[in-house]
């Protein structure tokens, strides 16, 4: 009965000074909507970055030659994967059959020069086998022309490549044009060959579109003098959380061969865990930012609750003198703040959720937002995440943080001496 009375009184109290309550509600609602939207944006950004890093750089697991990483700066293409008995496909086939493995991508990644009017321009080349590349889906990303055809010296067709749109614009290259490339081969001599541009592609990943050329794996193998070998095999798992387990399984399989020269590394440890650090640090930094947002808004709650306490000093004195205990006074003020934060969090989650939903469909033009100068694997358009856990998180986060902040002024109110309070002196 007494509890019910306190709850009812707390509820009625929020209507006593409507302007003050409105101020508290709007402050918290703005903060919660910002938190909700920022979380969906940061989640979308991190998810996008992780997806691109996995797809172009690390896979969930990467198989490479044990010595390659040590000599990476020298680009030693001879430290490649040529398999144990026949060629690299024996590893690809075995890993593909492992449970938890979604895709196995044999690739050659190398730097090259393009000869344009006697000036050499640096480019990066990703040679891949389209039969394996389901996730990249290059065919769908062609914006002009068509996908390349595989070439070998025995075939009568011409060697073909596709160029990413920003690089193509920079080089002034169109479909059908020819470009001559110069690079260091697996034998460490110079490899020199002319390729025809069969298509222009947009991966929508800023720094891929800026520097990359795609080439059929078999063409690259002839160009680089590394027949039947690849530089790396990326493994995409059904979920990134099983990457360590899959890497362990692959290493176990490869170690069955005496003097195994290859190693499988999960993305969390590749490059001294650099990618893992980027992703976890990014998430932490952004989490801190939106926590600060909410704490700032919570200060408004503390402020308004304190104002209430000061305004109602005499009232507090009276109810204390009538026998209301300290913990009931705490509960009264605490509940008042909780009611305010529930209403505010609901409104904030609704507004933030609406924005998140909209941008999860329309996307945000990250290239324009960042000025296009980002050198990370981030897509031009970022899609915010929108799901029920985002809404639940924002709603509860708003209530909990705001309620906790109101606890201290409420406790202060409970400590006021009735006689002093009635006199109006504190």
């Amino acid at each position: 009965m007494k509890k019910k009375f306190i709850i009812l009184t707390a509820w009625k109290n929020i209507f006593r000074n409507k302007r003050r309550s409105l101020l508290s509600i709007s402050a918290i609602a703005v903060a919660v909507s910002l938190v909700c939207f920022m979380k969906s944006y940061v989640d979308g950004l991190m998810e996008n970055m992780a997806k691109n890093i996995f797809l172009f750089q690390t896979g969930h697991v990467k198989i490479s030659h044990k010595d390659y990483e040590k000599e990476k700066k020298l680009m030693p293409l001879d430290l490649n994967i040529s398999g144990f008995e026949s060629d690299y496909t024996e590893i690809v086939n075995t890993v593909s059959k492992m449970s938890g493995v979604y895709e196995v991508l044999p690739r050659i990644h190398f730097a090259s020069f393009i000869d344009r009017k006697d000036k050499l321009k640096n480019v990066l080349v990703l040679a891949l086998d389209l039969q394996h590349e389901k996730s990249l889906n290059l065919k769908k990303k062609i914006i002009e022309g068509r996908i390349f055809e595989e070439w070998t010296p025995e075939k009568s067709n011409r060697p073909e490549i596709i160029i990413c749109k920003t690089l193509a614009a920079e080089l002034g290259v169109k479909c059908g044009d020819k470009v001559t490339m110069l690079t260091r081969s697996a034998e460490e001599g110079l490899a020199h060959m002319t390729f025809y541009v069969s298509g222009i592609v947009s991966t929508e990943v800023i720094n891929i579109d800026k520097y990359y050329i795609f080439m059929p794996l078999i063409t690259a193998q002839y160009f680089l003098k590394m027949e039947n070998a690849v530089l790396e095999i990326l493994v995409l798992c059904k979920t990134k959380n099983i990457a360590n387990k899959i890497a362990f399984m692959i290493n176990n399989f490869m170690n069955l061969n005496k003097d195994n020269p290859y190693i499988a590394e999960s993305w969390t440890v590749q490059n001294d865990g650099q990618y893992y650090k980027i992703l976890t640090m990014g998430t932490k930094i952004y989490s801190l930012v939106y926590l600060v947002f909410l704490l700032l808004a919570s200060l408004v709650i503390v402020n308004t609750t304190m104002m209430t306490v000061f305004e109602r000093t005499k009232e507090i004195g009276t109810i204390s003198a009538m026998g209301m205990r300290g913990k009931d006074i705490i509960l009264l003020f605490f509940l008042e703040a909780v009611f305010l934060s529930v209403i505010a969090s609901f409104i904030g989650t609704f507004i933030g959720g609406a924005f998140s939903f909209f941008f999860s469909r329309a996307g945000i033009d990250f290239a324009t937002l960042s000025g296009g100068g980002m050198d990370f694997q981030i897509s031009e358009r970022i899609f915010t995440t929108f799901n029920s856990s985002l809404l639940v998180f924002s709603f509860l986060f708003g209530i909990i943080v705001s309620a906790l902040c109101s606890f201290f002024p409420a406790k202060y109110a409970a400590k006021i001496e009735p006689v002093i309070a009635i006199r109006g002196r504190m």
Binding site: L182, E187, G189, H192
Partner: protein, 231 residues
């Protein structure tokens, strides 16, 4: 006090005169050793050279067949077997290893006279590779040079380089070249078997051999043109 009746400049001049034929043709073989765990690769090629300014090289081993290089003065051009046009090799690419060997393009194609680039002095006389030699230290007079210091052991009798050490600016030894065999031809003493060792990588060395050497022969000047290269 000089160790020799001849000055270092005179010795270097004589050594360079020993390579100053009007033209040369030879078939080259390079055995490239890339450490114990990597297979030895063998490259064969034909070289046509007119003076110090013009050289045409065509690779003939199966993996590189059709790869051609043309040097005209300071410019070096490459054309791969599947390239439709030649590309000029410039800048740091000139410091790359030629066909994966331990000779850089600069090593293989240098045409400047050593005395224009270096200040030489005789350090001592000593026996190297069973030959009596002058040990001459060359310090560069100019900046931005691949090897700011060289030590050359010049044969006292025939004035060919018996051994050469190539140093970086820091004083680190980068490469060591030893002449294994020479050929006396038309009054010239030509090193025809050379071992070039990369001192920065363990067990990395190239054995270079010149066969069917012909010197002072007439060569068609069309051979040294970009049009010929791109044919």
């Amino acid at each position: 006090m000089s160790l020799s009746a001849q000055t270092a400049e005179e010795i270097i001049y004589k050594m360079e005169q020993n390579e100053s034929f009007s033209s040369i043709y030879y078939e080259g073989v390079m055995s490239i050793h890339r450490g114990k765990n990597r297979p030895v690769s063998v490259k064969t090629f034909k070289v046509f050279s007119s003076g110090k300014d013009r050289t045409f090289i065509e690779f003939t081993n199966p993996a590189d067949r059709g790869t051609k290089y043309l040097k005209i003065k300071d410019e070096l051009w490459i054309k791969g077997p599947y390239a439709e046009e030649a590309t000029k090799i410039s800048g740091h690419l000139l410091r790359e290893n030629m066909a994966g060997s331990d000779f850089s393009y600069e090593d293989a194609l240098e045409n400047e006279k050593l005395l224009e680039l270096y200040e030489p002095y005789i350090e001592k006389e000593e026996i190297v590779n069973e030959r009596n030699c002058y040990r001459i230290v060359l310090k560069s007079k100019i900046k931005n040079i691949s090897y700011p210091k060289r030590i050359v052991w010049v044969d006292k009798e025939k004035f060919f380089p018996v051994k050469v050490e190539l140093y970086a600016l820091s004083g680190v030894l980068l490469k060591e070249m030893n002449v294994v065999e020479t050929l006396d031809i038309s009054g010239y003493t030509l090193p025809v078997k050379i071992r070039m060792e990369n001192k920065q990588r363990i067990d990395n060395w190239t054995f270079f051999e010149m066969k069917s050497v012909k010197i002072n022969i007439p060569l068609d000047s069309k051979l040294f043109s970009k049009q010929q290269l791109e044919r």
